[in-house]
Structures are given as structure tokens and as C-alpha cells.
């Protein structure tokens, strides 16, 4: 019965979405405001119905109702309660239901919080949002019905893939989807603006919080995904350039570019066409990501629910939505007035270069991910691109991006920068960066150019942020109370930028350091035999069997010592799940401030010895601390209230104020 309620709600949600498109459509045609006003309550009703449907599926998973096919195929009575719930989206049908639920949530949020939006624009946004919804509701109901019954119902379910039974992966999809689907709002904003001919600073200002929210969620989703791969797959790495990872990275790159280009449009009324195109592309890449993962076009360790027929369905949706939006763009782009002009070495100039570089990175990732597939479709040849290609293209492009991030905030809007003044401000960060690279060269074992460059860039970026803060609060002018007062009066968007950019510096440092100074030992040991790895000594203290709720495992305890003092103990496991039968590796990880102790237990060799893989990964967690800072920066920036005042000023006022440096126009 509960399943039928969920199924019925889904049909109702589809009906409401159709009304949300049609009635306002007629309203636009007849210029009837009452008909257009239907969009708001419709979006709210859609969320309610989607939530009922999602709740119903959660319920049947919770009570292990195996007469529902997806439950029988993906759950098991012995499964821990947490994974009964997360099992709802750990399969194709449920994850698509999560997708439309978040889509409905996004529509509801626009309807509820978008009151300050121009009425026509908001209605257009909601209609486009509902139009996207229709496609995905139909896809669910026709090709992936999560409420399909199974008769006769089996007595026990198949279980959930043990690799997915993990807190990291349990919360990775909802976070990722918040980002993916959050970008639908910017897509709708772009289409609405093209339809209404309202690509202008006001539009950019209204869209920006949505971009920030989606970007922050996507950052979190990517971080959770790489963290999961790091500790659950037990191969010791954290990023593999796997097609599924790239599928999530591409919309993130587009959203990052969009974040910066909306700023230019908002502050300076430039980059109109480009911003609209990026807003369309970001969500298009989200849909492309969904399609790639679900169609079976690519295989990877993460892909599941492979089904070519569903692939065709999503492909048609993809072609209609993206094709429609891009055609509209091609048709209307000519009518969008060119924006303001600016000097190349201004703030806008630096943001344009940032956008070009991000677009180039996006292009290389896109090519590396899709070229092998295209080659196979056209020439029947199978090739694998893999990490070497991405390392060779991604890193050289990341260097100027990071270097420019440090310079950009010091450049004035519109006019060319006074080169000497900027150079003076950046002299100290440059000196620090050089010193740290030299220190690394002198004292660390690794002298690879990338390691030196990575450390230098991270220090350069971090130091420049502090130099920027010092400049904004006019450090040295007035006492500490005065300086503190100036600091807390900075716009939140400013803090957002500092936090996010600092996050990038921290992540770059973590990625560089962990890669350059990692110590790894693969060997066989017997209990009591010490192995030294980097500055630490690992001793296998004991091996014992342990039983989990739905697995049994062999657990090894390693005592890790430094100079004979016990630092920490780690307990890697080798698990055997029974339903379905599968062996997994649980790495034993102890995160220390300076890095991760990482141990993997392998197989016994039959003579009382065990295969082990032991790592010391200096500064590894900094990669994720950095991601957390970026998310925090996005959230803080989103809550900025002062933006409206700045944006409502006329350009000549802005220029005048900026010239006098009264207003922190350097914000963001």
C-alpha cells in the first residue's frame, strides 16, 4: 500500500509539473498575471508530492518490503539500519527518485525565496524548472519505476554492494546531487533570461546565490567521493581520473568559471553572453554526468545500474534539454547587448583569463573523458587515456590558475592596474613562496619540479590572501581595535572569497605534499616484526577475527611508534560479506595533523606471515580540509546581504567610489 502511495504521488507530481509549464505558458501568451502566478503554488505542491514519494520508498526499505523489486534487489534484513535508509539511493531507481526530489526542492526554493525576483523572470525560471522535472518524472515512471512490485515476493533480499555500505558513500550521492541539481536553477535562470531578454547585472546578482549554493554542494560531493575512494578502496590514492569522477569534476569546473563570470557581469556588466552560456553548460554537464554513469557507456569502479535502454532515454532527454537551451542561446545571443569594455590588466581582465583557463581545463577533461568513447563508436578502436594524460594537461593549466588567483584581488575594477603598486603588494608573498620552495629543495628528499612548484604556489596564494586582508583592514593604520573594526565590517562575500581561496591553497599543498613525500612499504610481516615507514615504525601487534552485522573480518592491529613512543594504533580489516559474497578492504587510517598513517591488511601467506601495505602520507587530510574551507567560503559568501546595495548603484557611482577606495569594491 505504501509503495502505491509513493507511485501515485509521483504521477501527481508529474501532473503538477505539467500544469506548472502549461498554465504560466498560457499566462505569458495572454498576459494574464493570475495564470502565471500558478507557478509558485505548483512548485510548492511538487515538492510535497516528491517528498511523499521519497518517504514511501524510504519506508519500504526500512521495513524490508521485498515485494518491491528495488528493495529485494538492493536490501537485506541483516543490513544495518543506516544502510537500509541510504540503500534508498544506492541503486539506480532510488537515486533517480532522489534526483527529482532535489529538483523539486530547488523549484520550491526558487518559489519560496525568490520573491525579490522580477515576477516574469521568476515564473519563467519555475516553468523551465518544471519542464526539466517532466522529463525526469517520465523517465522514472516509464523506464525506472522504483515502486514496481515483485510477485511472488522473495523471502530475503540480495543485499547491497558492500563497497557502498559506508558512511562516505552513503552521503556522497545526496551531496553531489544537491550540486548537480542545484545547477538546474542556473540553467533555468539562463533560459528564462534569454526568453525575457534580461541578461543584465540584476539577473546575475539574483542568480549568484544559487550558483554559490550549487558550487559549494558540488565541492562537498567531490570531496566526499574522493575521501571514500581513499579509505574504502584501499589502493592508497584519492583521485584516479576515473570517468565517473571526471563526470562530476566537469560541472564543478563550469560552475567555478560561472561563479567568477557572474561577478564580472554583476559588478561591471560585461561577459553577458559568456555567463549565459556557462550557466547552460554547467547543468548540461551535470546531466551528461548522470547519463555517462547510468548508460553503461563507460565502465569504472563506481558505475552501477548499467542499462543501455535507459541510456537511450536519458540521451533523448539530454538532447532535448541541452539542445533546446543551446539553440535558444544561438538564436538569442545576437540580441544580447554587448556589455561594458575594460582594460586587460583590470580585475575583470584577470577574471576573464581565469575563465579562459578554467574553460581550457574543462576542455581537456572533457576530451580525455569522451574521446576514447567517440573513437570506439566511430573507428571501433579501444583506447584508455588514463592518469598520464590528465596529469600532463591538468597540472600545467592549474599553475597559472593558482598564480592568478593571488594577483586578481589586488587589481582594480575596470581600469588598468598600477603595475608597480600591485607588484609592491605581492612582493612579500612572492618572497615567502620562493623561500618555502628553497627550503623544500634544501631539506626534503624529493626535489621534483612539481613538488617545489606546488608548495611555492600554495604559499604564494595563502600569503597573498593575508596580504589582501592586511590591505583591506589597513593594517598599521590605527590601533588593534580600529583594525579589528575594519575587519568585521568587511562584506561577507569578502570573507567568502578569502576562505575559498585559502581552501584552494590548502588543497594544493595537501595534494602536492602527500604525493611528493609519501612513504610506502609493501611487505609480508609476522606479528611482532617492526617495519619502518617514513619517520614511523609499524609493528603488527595482533591478528584476530571480528564479526560485524553482516560481515566477518580479519582485523590486524598495528602499533605505530616514533622514537619508541607509541603514537597511535590502527586496525585495518579484510572483510568478507556474505550477501552478496564479496571481499573488501578497510584501510586502517589514523589522521594526524601532519598527515595520515594508512595501513592495509592483505592475505596470509600460509606460514604465519601477512601481506601488508603501509603508508605515511604527509599532509594528506589537508586536501579535504581545503575542500571544507572552499565550501565554507561558498556558504559565507551566499549569505552576503550587502551585495544588493553595491549592485544597485550606477556604474559611474561605482567607478567613483572605487577610485576613492572608500568602498571595498574589491569584494569577492
Amino acid at each position: 500500500m505504501v509503495a502505491e502511495i509513493g507511485h501515485f504521488s509521483l504521477w501527481l507530481a508529474l501532473a503538477v509539473a505539467v500544469c506548472q509549464v502549461l498554465l504560466p505558458g498560457v499566462g505569458f501568451h495572454k498576459d494574464d498575471e493570475r495564470l502565471r502566478a500558478v507557478a509558485v503554488p505548483a512548485a510548492q505542491a511538487q515538492l510535497l508530492l516528491a517528498l511523499i514519494s521519497f518517504g514511501a520508498l524510504t519506508w519500504v526499505f526500512w521495513v524490508s518490503d521485498f515485494s518491491v523489486r528495488v528493495v529485494a534487489e538492493n536490501s537485506h534484513t541483516l543490513k544495518p539500519a543506516l544502510y537500509k535508509i541510504t540503500g534508498v539511493w544506492a541503486n539506480h531507481e532510488g537515486s533517480m527518485l532522489l534526483w527529482v526530489t532535489i529538483l523539486a526542492l530547488a523549484g520550491w526554493a526558487v518559489a519560496t525565496f525568490g520573491r525579490s525576483l522580477n515576477e516574469r523572470l521568476r515564473t519563467r525560471v519555475l516553468s523551465v524548472q518544471a519542464l526539466i522535472g517532466i522529463g525526469f518524472y517520465v523517465f522514472l515512471l516509464v523506464a525506472s519505476n522504483p515502486f514496481e512490485r515483485l510477485l511472488p515476493a522473495p523471502g530475503e533480499g540480495n543485499g547491497l554492494n558492500p563497497l557502498l555500505q559506508d558512511p562516505g558513500l552513503a552521503f556522497h550521492p545526496p551531496m553531489l546531487y544537491l550540486g548537480y541539481v542545484g545547477l538546474s536553477v542556473t540553467f533555468s535562470f539562463a533560459v528564462a533570461a534569454l526568453l525575457e531578454n534580461q541578461v543584465n547585472p540584476e539577473w546575475a546578482r539574483r542568480m549568484r546565490p544559487w550558483v554559490l549554493a550549487a558550487w559549494a554542494a558540488l565541492t562537498g560531493g567531490l570531496a566526499l567521493g574522493s575521501w571514500w575512494a581513499y579509505y574504502e578502496l584501499g589502493w592508497g590514492g584519492w583521485w584516479f581520473w576515473d570517468p565517473v569522477e571526471n563526470a562530476a569534476l566537469m560541472p564543478w569546473l563550469a560552475a567555478t568559471a560561472l561563479l567568477h563570470s557572474t561577478l564580472v557581469l554583476e559588478k561591471r556588466d560585461a561577459l553577458r553572453n559568456w555567463t549565459v552560456l556557462l550557466a547552460v553548460l554547467a547543468f548540461s554537464l551535470s546531466m551528461l554526468g548522470t547519463f555517462i554513469v547510468r548508460s553503461g557507456l563507460l565502465t569504472s569502479v563506481h558505475s552501477f545500474a548499467v542499462d543501455p535502454e535507459r541510456g537511450i532515454f536519458i540521451l533523448v532527454l539530454l538532447a532535448l534539454y541541452i539542445g533546446g537551451a543551446l539553440t535558444l542561446y544561438a538564436w538569442r545571443a545576437g540580441t544580447v547587448e554587448a556589455g561594458a569594455t575594460f582594460a586587460a590588466t583590470s580585475r575583470e581582465g584577470s577574471l576573464v583569463i581565469n575563465n579562459l583557463l578554467l574553460a581550457a581545463i574543462l576542455g581537456t577533461v572533457f576530451l580525455g573523458t569522451l574521446y576514447p568513447m567517440a573513437l570506439e563508436a566511430v573507428a571501433g578502436e579501444k583506447i584508455s587515456v588514463g592518469a598520464p594524460y590528465f596529469n600532463a594537461t591538468f597540472r600545467p593549466l592549474m599553475v597559472p590558475v593558482a598564480a592568478l588567483m593571488a594577483v586578481g584581488p589586488f587589481l582594480p575594477w575596470r581600469k588598468a592596474a598600477g603595475g608597480r603598486r600591485v607588484a609592491r603588494r605581492l612582493a612579500l608573498p612572492a618572497l615567502l613562496a620562493l623561500l618555502s620552495a628553497l627550503t623544500v629543495y634544501a631539506f626534503a628528499d624529493t626535489r621534483g619540479a612539481w613538488a617545489l612548484l606546488g608548495v611555492g604556489l600554495a604559499v604564494w596564494l595563502a600569503a597573498s590572501i593575508f596580504a589582501d586582508i592586511a590591505r583591506q583592514v589597513r593594517l598599521g593604520h590605527g590601533g588593534p581595535r580600529l583594525v579589528w573594526g575594519r575587519l568585521i565590517r568587511q562584506p561577507r562575500a569578502m570573507f567568502g572569497m578569502w576562505l575559498a581561496h585559502l581552501g584552494v591553497a590548502v588543497s594544493i599543498f595537501g595534494a602536492t605534499a602527500s604525493g611528493a613525500w609519501e612513504s610506502e612499504v609493501m611487505t609480508t610481516v609476522e606479528p611482532g616484526q617492526p617495519v619502518s615507514v617514513g619517520p614511523y615504525t609499524f609493528t603488527l601487534d595482533s591478528i584476530m577475527p571480528v564479526a560485524g552485522p553482516n560481515y566477518t573480518a580479519i582485523e590486524g592491529r598495528f602499533d605505530v611508534r616514533k622514537d619508541d613512543n607509541l603514537v597511535v594504533s590502527v586496525r585495518p580489516q579484510s572483510r568478507t560479506y556474505t550477501e552478496p559474497p564479496m571481499e573488501t578492504t578497510e584501510a586502517g587510517i589514523a589522521p594526524l595533523w601532519a598527515g595520515d598513517i594508512y595501513a592495509v591488511l592483505g592475505k596470509p601467506d600460509g606460514q604465519g606471515r601477512w601481506q601488508v601495505r603501509l603508508h605515511w602520507k604527509p599532509f594528506m587530510p589537508w586536501v579535504w580540509y581545503g575542500a571544507a574551507l572552499m565550501m565554507l567560503g561558498g556558504a559565507v559568501s551566499m549569505l552576503d546581504r550587502r551585495r544588493s546595495r553595491v549592485a544597485l548603484m550606477q556604474p559611474h557611482q561605482l567607478a567613483a567610489e572605487a577610485a576613492e577606495q572608500k568602498l571595498p569594491l574589491a569584494a569577492e
Partner: protein
């Protein structure tokens, strides 16, 4: 709008069209997932030696695949639904077309297998019990079921991923016929 600019704003649509065409081509080819072809193709079957299921279905080793006739090696598990779904197709291959089919039972229990065979029949000549999954690793399988066509001299010539459906039978018979002539 100048012609160059027109082309520029239209470029995204063109890229999308090309992409959709490529995807469609790819999906249209039966949608076999893009797993690289097995490294085993054209090479001798890996060494393995598995205990048997019962007296009628003795164990399986690589020597059994070098007896001069073409054989199918089906990686099977009674807990895997697609494996059960393909049993009728395997039975038809064995009974109507005289194909010899051996099984590698992956991490399975004989009692559970007996139940499945009692209900759906047993098309296998030999059944090797791969309790620790070593043989499956040696064969490089990515999941159950998978089926390999092995020539009379023990050379692996074809790998089928996933369950064998009725529509796959003609192509599979063709592959077997070719393997017999080689």
C-alpha cells in the same frame, strides 16, 4: 551579427549534435558495456584446478579444456539472479546444439546450487567449485555471470559479459562454429 559570430554562438549546438550522434552509435551497438576485451582472448586458458560438485559433475581444470572439442566456461553462482535467468539458454545450447558447457561456481555452496538445479535444471558437464574466488581472479572476471568460449586446444576465443539472452544465441553459435573450424 557577423557570420563568424553566428558560427561561434552556434558552435555549442553543433558540438552537442556530434556528441549525441556518437552516444547513439555507441548505445546502438547492443550496448555491451565498454569493458576492454579480456586480455585472455587469443591466449591459453589460465591454469586452475577446482574440486568437483558431485560424482556426475567432476571438477574442472585447464587440462579439461584441452580435450579437442570447443567448450563454454560459464562463471556461475546460485545467488546471482542473471545466472539463473540464463540457465534455459545454456540448457538449449547443451541439449539442442550439443555444446559442452562447464561451470566455475564462484563462492557458492553446493546445497544452494542443488536447490537451483532441482528447480531450473543443470546444463553443465563439469562443475568446479571456486570457493576462494582464485579461479575467477585468474580468469579476470568482473562479475557473474560471464561466459568464455574456449577452443579445443585450450585457447580462449570469446568472452560474453552478463547473462546470455535468447537474442545472443545465434551470434554465440556462430562463434562456436568458427572456433570448431580453427
Amino acid at each position: 551579427m557577423s557570420l563568424g559570430r553566428k558560427l561561434l554562438v552556434g558552435l555549442p549546438v553543433l558540438v552537442l549534435l556530434a556528441l549525441v550522434a556518437v552516444f547513439f552509435l555507441r548505445l546502438d551497438r547492443g550496448g555491451q558495456p565498454m569493458i576492454p576485451p579480456s586480455a585472455l582472448i587469443g591466449k591459453p586458458a589460465p591454469q586452475f584446478d577446482l574440486a568437483g560438485y558431485d560424482a556426475e559433475h567432476p571438477g574442472l581444470s585447464d587440462a579439461d579444456l584441452r580435450q579437442g572439442g570447443v567448450t563454454l566456461v560459464n562463471v556461475f553462482a546460485s545467488w546471482c539472479a542473471p545466472c539463473i535467468a540464463e540457465l534455459p539458454q545454456l540448457k538449449a545450447l547443451a541439449e539442442q546444439h550439443g555444446v559442452t558447457i562447464h561451470a566455475i561456481a564462484w563462492k557458492d555452496k553446493p546445497e544452494a546450487m542443488a536447490q537451483v538445479f532441482a528447480e531450473y535444471g543443470n546444463p553443465f558437464r563439469r562443475i568446479g567449485l571456486d570457493n576462494n574466488g582464485r579461479a575467477a581472479i585468474a580468469w579476470g572476471i568482473s562479475g557473474v555471470p560471464e561466459t568464455f568460449v574456449v577452443r579445443g586446444d585450450g585457447t580462449v576465443v570469446y568472452r560474453h559479459l552478463g547473462d546470455i539472452r535468447p537474442e545472443h544465441i545465434p551470434a554465440l553459435l556462430e562463434t562456436i562454429k568458427k572456433a570448431q573450424q580453427q
